[in-house]
Structures are given as structure tokens and as C-alpha cells.
């Protein structure tokens, strides 16, 4: 038996199929992955993501330390509650983890992946010398992601009852990537689905009752299976699949998360990235692939890429699935930057696929052409 979140009994009650996920007993699906996926695209769904690790960063040097630790620049977060997505890199520029950091009234809050928790914390601890910073894990908090076109309205009704109509209005007016603290809750306009929605961090003790209220309001429970198809349709990376410590953010479609300016900010991995940037056209890229014929693209499949000089080179699919929204296969693949045409090796047969920008569905609609 693995670790269980405060909602484990609720998952069983909802008929979940439970699997081990990074040492946690988590719901992979309830009834049907496709129905859960569609519920988030068309209505609203709730995900228990309490297995993810929350680390609060406080102390006099919290900001200067994070500016050294992370490739994106927390100094860009001017307002309390504002968040950004970033990689945490090693000296070689490889991605140790990807995470979200929120500026809090004092200090910052990080949410990191569950499977990487131990190495992340060890890495952070090893980088503390010379900084006055405290790291506090918050295992007493659950995280509920409520996502979909009806998600925010439903959450705001519940917040109106639990807190006040003013608080409900505040949450309703939150801009993307902003959050607000309400007593010991933190509610943020972030997510991993490409839909409108919020992520709520709240005490474990309150989570089951709020879960029940969400379900009673028509929000569907969503397992990790649909979480994966939703994030892949949205073109979002999954750590350990689309990037890891051997992969540069420049080869993982994470170039936009590197804050090169100000040029005198020294962050871990910067020197390596500067060198890579000089030879950027030689670095492989993470691209989107679309296959509209029958079949499903899967992680690990070989991609045969034809370059502009007519030679071929191999790439690889890093995440692939059947897109329940588009009704055909989609994938992320790491391929040579100069690839003109791609074909995927499916059981020995080369099937032509189309290269598109990563990102397939946003707000329920197809986004590539």
C-alpha cells in the first residue's frame, strides 16, 4: 500500500480504479477515461492532485535565492498571488524538475512534482549555502484542481458559502496565473488542461467535504488517465517523459521559461544554456505531431525525419495518445530542428505524420491548422 491523500476514501466511493503513482495510491480513472476527458472539455471536472509537493520558501533571501535556483525570474512577479512556470536546472542546463512558483504576501510557494520530490528537496537543500532561507513542506494541505468551462462559477458558489460573497467575487475576477489566499486556503487560476479553472490548496481536513460539494454541483471526478490526455491536448509537458535531467529546456519547448534578461542574473544552468543558445540550430526540438489516419501514436515510437538536405535522422515520441477531443492521434516528439517531413514507425510500418506547434486543443477547440 502506498501513501494516500485525504480523498482516498472519496475515490473509492466514486468507483475509482487505483494505481501506484510515485508511491501514492491514486485514481487512474473512475468509469471511462473518455467521458472524464469530455466532462472537463465541456463542463467541469475535479482532480485530486494532493500527491504533488508544496514547499513554502521564506526568509530574508527567499527572492534572491529563487532567482539563483530557477531559470525563470521570480522578480517578474510584482504582485502578491502572481505565479510563473519554470524549470529548475542543473549546472549542465538539464531539467531537474518543472514547477509553478507563486509570490505570497511574504515569501513564495512552490508546487513540484510528486515523483521528483526527494531529489528536488535534496537539490534545494544543497543550494542553500550563503542564503538566509527556510523551506517548509506543507503535507497538511490537499490540492484540488477544478477545470472546465463551468469550473470557476461552481467554485465561486462554494467559496461564497464557505467564505463570503466578496471572496467569491475576488476568485471570479482572478486573472490567469494569479492566486489569492483566503484564510488557510489558496485559490489560483492555474491548471494543466487548457481549460479555464482553478487549483485550490486547502487543509486536508476540509478537502472531503469540498469534494462532496463539487460532486453534488455536477462536477465530475477525473482520474490521472484523463489528466494525461487533457494536458497532452493542451501541449503541456510531463516531467520524466517530455524532459528530464539530460534534456535542455531549449529542446523541451521551454525556451520561453528562461529569463535571459537581466543578463547579469546568475542562475544555475545559465552558463550551459548560453553555450547551447549559440548553436541552437543543432539542438533537437520538441514538436507536436498529428496523425489523422487510424492508429495511435505512443511514447517511445521512432520518428523518421527527412532533413532539408534529403538525409534522414531519427527522433522519438516523448508523449502520445488518442485525442478524445479531436478523435485522432496526437503526440509530442523530440526531432532534429531541420526536419522537413516526419513518419512514425508503427509496428514496422512508416506512417506519415504532420508536424505542428505543440498545443492541439484550447478551451475545447482545435488550435492547429
Amino acid at each position: 500500500m502506498g501513501q494516500q491523500t485525504a480523498l482516498y476514501a472519496k475515490h473509492l466511493e466514486a468507483g475509482a480504479k487505483i494505481v501506484d503513482f510515485g508511491g501514492w495510491d491514486m485514481p487512474i480513472q473512475y468509469q471511462s477515461l473518455i467521458e472524464e476527458h469530455t466532462a472537463v472539455r465541456e463542463q467541469a471536472g475535479v482532480f485530486d492532485v494532493s500527491h504533488m509537493t508544496i514547499v513554502d520558501i521564506d526568509g530574508a533571501d527567499a527572492e534572491s535565492w529563487l532567482r539563483y535556483l530557477l531559470a525563470n525570474d521570480v522578480a517578474r512577479l510584482k504582485d502578491t498571488g502572481h505565479a510563473l512556470y519554470t524549470g529548475m536546472l542543473n549546472e549542465n542546463g538539464g531539467v531537474i524538475d518543472d514547477l509553478i512558483v507563486y509570490r505570497m504576501a511574504s515569501g513564495f510557494r512552490l508546487v513540484v512534482n510528486c515523483a521528483t520530490r526527494e531529489k528536488d528537496l535534496a537539490w534545494m537543500q544543497s543550494q542553500l549555502a550563503g542564503f538566509t532561507v527556510t523551506l517548509t513542506e506543507r503535507p497538511e494541505l490537499a490540492i484540488l484542481a477544478v477545470q472546465g468551462p463551468h469550473a470557476i462559477d461552481t467554485v465561486c458558489r462554494i467559496i461564497g458559502q464557505r467564505f463570503s460573497s466578496d471572496d467569491s467575487a475576488t476568485v471570479s475576477g482572478l486573472k490567469n496565473f494569479y492566486g489569492v489566499k483566503l484564510d488557510d486556503w489558496f485559490v489560483a487560476r492555474t491548471g494543466y488542461t487548457g481549460e479555464h479553472g482553478v487549483e485550490i490548496m486547502l487543509p486536508n481536513s476540509e478537502a472531503p467535504a469540498i469534494w462532496d460539494q463539487l460532486l453534488a454541483a455536477g462536477v465530475k471526478p477525473i482520474g490521472l488517465g484523463a489528466r494525461d490526455t487533457l494536458r497532452l491536448e493542451a501541449g503541456m509537458n510531463l516531467y520524466g517523459h517530455d524532459m528530464d535531467e539530460r534534456i535542455s529546456p531549449l529542446s523541451a519547448n521551454m525556451g520561453w521559461t528562461i529569463a535571459w534578461e537581466p543578463a547579469d542574473r546568475d542562475f544555475i544552468g545559465r552558463r550551459a544554456l548560453e553555450t547551447q543558445r549559440q548553436h541552437r540550430d543543432t539542438l533537437p526540438v520538441l514538436t507536436g505531431l498529428v496523425m489523422e489516419t487510424r492508429g495511435v501514436l505512443r511514447e517511445g515510437l521512432r520518428v523518421e525525419c527527412t532533413l532539408s538536405d534529403g538525409t534522414t535522422q531519427d527522433g522519438v515520441i516523448t508523449s502520445g495518445t488518442f485525442s478524445p477531443t479531436l478523435k485522432h492521434a496526437i503526440a509530442l516528439a523530440r526531432i532534429p530542428a531541420d526536419s522537413q517531413q516526419c513518419a512514425v514507425d508503427i509496428r514496422g510500418k512508416l506512417v506519415p505524420v504532420r508536424q505542428v506547434k505543440p498545443g492541439f486543443v484550447r478551451h475545447g477547440k482545435k488550435v492547429f491548422s
Binding site: Q29, S32, L33, I34, G225, G295, F322, P324
Partner: protein
């Protein structure tokens, strides 16, 4: 809980076989198999007229989660395939023992039926 109808024979690789009055057999995948696969999105049907040997790969079923080979539970000629599955592969999830059948085979060696499992043995294997 998965269903294991008593009147069918099963292969350890999760196909079921029903002997029809005319001596042909109808083949599909078990309720247990469709549950493991989850939502089925594509089925590569065997070809009508193909001659298959027992334990040969004869079809591929793709769900959102995984691709899975279907093996011929018995040798013979494929005399019918369930074309409806092309447009509605999810029928294999919702009705694995009836509308979700895969194909019919005219056995060339009916004694192979003896090597298949009865419902109790197969159900025990799936526990």
C-alpha cells in the same frame, strides 16, 4: 466485476470463443480484457478469407492507454468480420460478448477447442 459467461470457451490471452450451430466459431475479447484496456478507439480487423493458425496475431485493438494484440484462439478461415467495429470500436467495451464480437472462423481443426479454458478456469486466472 467482470462477467465470464458459462457457455463460452476462453484463451489464456483473453479471447472468447462461441461454437455456433453450423460448426463455425464466433470470437471476441473477454469482459476482463476490455476492462483492462479501457476505452477502445481503433480496431484493426482481421481480413475476411484469411487463414489463421491458433495463437497467431490476427488483430490489434488500440485503447487510449495501450495497443494490444488479439491472437487467433483456433486455426481456420476467417469467414466474417464485425465491420461495425470500424465506426464504433467502443462497442467492444460496452458489449464484449454480443455486439462487440470480432470475427467468425471456420475451424480447420475443431479438436483445438478442447485446449481452450472453461469459464471457471479462465475466471480464476483473471483474479
Amino acid at each position: 466485476m467482470s462477467e465470464f459467461p458459462d457457455d463460452l470457451k476462453y484463451a489464456a490471452t483473453h479471447e472468447w470463443v462461441r461454437v455456433e450451430e453450423d460448426g463455425s466459431v464466433t470470437i471476441g475479447i473477454s469482459d476482463h480484457a476490455q476492462e483492462l484496456l479501457g476505452d477502445i478507439v481503433f480496431i484493426e480487423l482481421p481480413e475476411e478469407g484469411a487463414v489463421v493458425s491458433a495463437k497467431d496475431e490476427m488483430s490489434v485493438v488500440e485503447s487510449v492507454k495501450a495497443a494490444s494484440d488479439i491472437y487467433a484462439p483456433i486455426s481456420g478461415e476467417v469467414i466474417a468480420v464485425n465491420e461495425d467495429l470500424t465506426d464504433a470500436p467502443e462497442t467492444m467495451n460496452s458489449s464484449p460478448y454480443s455486439d462487440g464480437w470480432l470475427c467468425r472462423i471456420l475451424p480447420s481443426n475443431p479438436s483445438e477447442l478442447e485446449e481452450l479454458l472453461d469459464a471457471d478456469t479462465y475466471a480464476g486466472m483473471c483474479e
